[in-house]
């Protein structure tokens, strides 16, 4: 099972292939729509990342062809568009795409969307999350570390819960702003940094083993060690 990337822009295609491979996915790269459609029909593909602006056969046509063929109609499609126009998004979703991203996008954002679409990756909906010596009781909204209770505000808890649920995944600042505060625009990155600093003072500062790690240029990740 592989992710099929259909992208004609050489650099974009290369970095998507490399980034997704390094994130643990098998990746097939097609440089035009016709090749992409051929691969989707002939090989085992579990998700398509589709650029809309393609030579010869554009993304919309590829999407229509995918949805028209019983062999490929069930494959989730995430499309990429450079034009942030409402009509584009509506068109893509109407044609049967499952999600979209507007260029330029953060790679971690793409990764998060792909994982959500595949319902894979460690999204933990458990009532009790354990990471290292930290225990999060989701229902009672209680956090303990090394057996000691830690008092968090509602926002701090929401932030920690988001990071912990996606243990090991790098979360971009805009994803955090959107999920925790419902701020769906590229805001000040400093705001998220300050919020994370505040959370760290309670969760990490008193303990030698750190759980929340900064991935410079990408975002934050919660794990027992700063995994790559």
């Amino acid at each position: 099972m592989a992710i099929l990337v259909i992208e004609d822009e050489p650099k974009t295609g290369d970095y998507l292939q490399r980034g997704l491979s390094e994130s643990g996915f098998a990746v097939r790269l097609a440089r035009n729509g016709r090749d992409g459609l051929f691969i989707a029909r002939e090989e085992e593909i579990e998700l398509v990342v589709l650029d809309v602006m393609l030579p010869r056969m554009d993304g919309w046509q590829v999407l229509e062809a995918l949805r028209a063929d019983p062999a490929t109609e069930g494959i989730p499609v995430l499309f990429l568009t450079a034009r942030d126009e409402v009509e584009d998004r509506v068109r893509g979703l109407e044609l049967g795409a499952d999600d979209y991203l507007v260029k330029p996008f953060a790679f971690v954002e793409l990764l998060a969307r792909i994982r959500t679409l595949l319902r894979r990756g460690p999204v933990r909906e458990d009532e009790l999350i354990r990471i290292g010596d930290m225990e999060i009781d989701v229902l009672r909204r209680r956090v303990r570390r090394g057996g000691l209770p830690i008092t968090l505000t509602a926002q701090e808890f929401a932030l920690l819960h988001l990071l912990a649920r996606r243990q090991g995944q790098v979360l971009s600042r805009s994803l955090i702003a959107s999920q925790v505060w419902d701020m769906n625009f590229d805001s000040d990155t400093n705001v998220i940094d300050a919020a994370v600093r505040r959370l760290r003072r309670k969760i990490d500062d008193p303990f030698p083993d750190k759980l929340i790690h900064t991935r410079r240029g990408m975002g934050y990740v919660c794990d027992t060690e700063a995994v790559r």
């Binding site: 702003a177 505060w181 701020m183 625009f185 590229d186 805001s187 000040d188 990155t189 505040r198 240029g217």
Partner: protein
């Protein structure tokens, strides 16, 4: 009726029509007065004739003369062929009938010894020409042997119809000639009168992006065209200002892009010049990402502003509790505020009809600004107020005073009251422009006021 598009043609037509109407009315009036006068004179003449016959009949021996020598009487009476005289006895017997034309005219009732013009009756000859007739009483003979008779005097005015017709033709001709003259004069005068307009058009045709400083000569224009010239000049003023702002904006944009791009280029080239450790490369890449993120944000903001200006942003307005919205944004900035020991106070209330995502974006931009510039340890007040259906949301903080000349420009793109500060903190210089674009989309407005060290940004929404 479709009016012609040419102003000259239109005015000429109307003017000609007016002159034709006036000339015709005057002609008709003069003709009527002339006809009335002729008729009056004819009538006086007719009455004179009657009087003459009466006098003639009153002479001694007139009855005898009438009976025996009718031709003499006829000779005496007739001078003109068209004079018709009939003398009737009291019993209706015809005593004399001078009727060279053989006309058959009606006999009106006798109007006494001295009839006035009112007693005169109109009749029509066999050829359809007009005639007048009057009847009066007379005494035939003189002394004691007199008898009462009725005298009928009539006239046919054959030459009158022809004369009146000629007169009518003359008047119609004069009216037509004056209308034609009016048309020619009007067209000539309009051509002359519109010359300044042609001048203005020629001048306006010279205006190009590079020659926006050109102005029409408003003072030299005719007074009717002065408002137009002034309006065009005012438009040119606005265009010039807008154009200057746009070019300035493009220059600013290029400058804003140049700095991060120079950094990206420079530091990447320096790094590649020698072999470095993995950590160094990682640091470079991370630093590049930071610059690129800033560029991406700037592009995103620019696109948003461009779309907002073209009204391409679709609003999804909903009634929102204003205080809740303030609290949400305050919550978002809580961490940042705490680091500078700032307190965030949300007060007031009311409802605001707005697109939630855009309202949050506007408030976040204001608060981001306030958190940056507020004096450490001070309180930032977020206040909502509904008055007469209009809701105003404000964000105010205490900080370094902003000089009045800067205040007016705070919403301009890339305007920085303090150029040294924001650069380092990752601001794009477009935050407040976006606030003002969002308010314009909502039909509201954004404003700023400073009171000493307290600066207040207000978002005013229109009445619901």
């Amino acid at each position: 009726m479709v009016l012609p598009r040419s102003l000259t043609l239109r005015v000429t037509l109307v003017f000609t029509l007016i002159v034709a109407l006036a000339a015709s009315a005057l002609g008709i009036y003069l003709y009527r007065a002339f006809v009335d006068e002729i008729v009056r004179r004819d009538d006086i003449q007719l009455l004179g004739k009657l009087r003459q016959v009466q006098v003639l009949l009153g002479r001694p021996g007139a009855a005898e003369l009438l009976r025996t020598q009718a031709d003499v009487f006829r000779d005496t009476m007739s001078g003109q062929e068209n004079s018709l005289v009939r003398i009737l006895a009291a019993d209706g017997r015809l005593l004399a009938d001078i009727n060279a034309l053989g006309e058959d005219y009606p006999v009106p009732p006798s109007a006494g010894a001295a009839p006035g013009t009112a007693a005169i009756v109109t009749w029509s000859t066999r050829r359809g020409e007009p005639g007048r007739v009057v009847a009066g009483s007379a005494r035939l003979g003189a002394g004691e042997m007199t008898t009462a008779v009725t005298v009928v005097v009539a006239r046919a005015y054959a030459e009158r119809s022809a004369m009146f017709a000629g007169y009518r033709r003359q008047i119609a001709g004069a009216a037509a000639v004056s209308a034609l003259l009016a048309a020619i004069l009007a067209a000539l005068m309009l051509r002359r009168g519109l010359l300044p307009l042609r001048g203005m058009a020629a001048h306006a045709a010279l205006v190009r992006p590079g020659t926006l400083a050109h102005r029409l000569d408003a003072a030299g224009a005719p007074s009717e065209l002065q408002p137009l010239a002034e309006a065009i000049n005012a438009m040119l003023d606005r265009l010039q200002a807008g154009y200057a702002r746009l070019s300035g904006f493009s220059a600013d944009l290029a400058h804003e892009f140049r700095t991060p791009v120079a950094n990206l280029l420079g530091q990447s080239q320096v790094m590649l010049a020698q072999a470095r450790s993995v950590a160094d490369y990682e640091a470079l890449t991370a630093s590049n990402i930071e610059e690129l993120e800033r560029l991406a944000r700037m592009i995103d903001s620019m696109l948003f502003l461009a779309r907002a200006e073209q009204d391409e942003v679709k609003l999804q307005r909903r009634p929102l509790a204003a205080l809740d919205e303030l609290r949400k944004v305050a919550d978002f900035y809580d961490g940042m505020a705490q680091e500078r020991a700032l307190a965030l106070a949300c007060t007031g209330g009311g409802t605001v009809l707005a697109d939630p995502a855009l309202l949050r974006r506007a408030l976040a931009n204001l608060l981001s600004n306030a958190v940056r510039h507020a004096d450490e340890g001070s309180t930032i007040v977020l206040h909502a107020e509904e008055r007469g259906g209009r809701t105003a949301l404000s964000v105010s903080n205490v900080g370094p005073a902003v000089a009045a000349p800067h205040l007016a420009h705070l919403f301009d793109r890339f305007y920085r009251a303090d150029s040294a500060r924001s650069e380092a903190e990752g601001s794009t210089g477009l935050g407040l422009s976006i606030v003002s674009a969002i308010m314009a989309l909502h039909g509201g407005e954004s404003g700023v006021a400073a009171d000493g060290a307290r600066i207040t940004f207000t978002l005013r929404f229109p009445a619901i």
